[in-house]
């Protein structure tokens, strides 16, 4: 039972443009959401988070939006850079972290 879903396995974006990564969840009890970034042969690294009481959190080029009514989370990266090329996982927290399947982002120079 996949409670957190990332329906796009991959995304390609030109350098300088916006990257939008999407995540859907099924459990309305989730109270905390996170995005992790993963390079090959490395563990995931924390990127940005948002509490369920907020609808937006911004950190530099990264902004996470939360739409609780739609049970939808998105990560915006503006402007995208080649170093952003990685796999991005969204995660939702309740009693534990539930991870999505990941979206592989490629930023084309």
């Amino acid at each position: 039972d996949q409670q957190v879903k990332q329906n796009s396995p991959s995304l390609s974006v030109q350098e300088g443009r916006i990257s939008i990564l999407n995540c859907d969840y099924t459990n309305s009890m989730f109270d905390y959401f996170l995005w992790y970034k993963k390079y090959p042969a490395e563990g995931p690294t924390f990127l940005i988070s948002i509490s369920s009481i907020k609808d937006k959190n911004e950190d530099g080029r990264f902004t996470v939006f939360l739409n609780k009514s739609a049970k939808h989370l998105s990560l915006h990266i503006v402007p995208s850079q080649p170093g952003d090329s990685a796999v991005y996982f969204c995660a939702a927290s309740l009693d534990q972290f539930y991870f999505g399947t990941g979206t592989s982002l490629t930023v084309i120079p």
Binding site: E42, G43, F46, S49, F89, A91, D95, Q96, T101, G102
Partner: protein, 114 residues
Amino acid sequence: EAGVAQSPRYKIIEKRQSVAFWCNPISGHATLYWYQQILGQGPKLLIQFQNNGVVDDSQLPKDRFSAERLKGVDSTLKIQPAKLEDSAVYLCASSLVSDTDTQYFGPGTRLTVL
């Protein structure tokens, strides 16, 4: 600050053999997690420790998997005997206290079972 350390980085074994993975969390982190990440999937929690006590092991296949964190610091995860479907990356993570704190991941151990 040193990150989460894991060893070995890679392991290849034959089915029915045993294997053990080691994790050293970030100093001062009370909570330690072991995740299994199968190719093309997100990490799945196997077991969570708070200090040296088990908080959640509901998804650990206890007939073949075991884990311990004896002194509340390092942890080992063992598989005995291994099956083909155990081929995955095993990630260790740690956080300061609770499961809502940010988790910091190690580089993982890639296990291949032949």
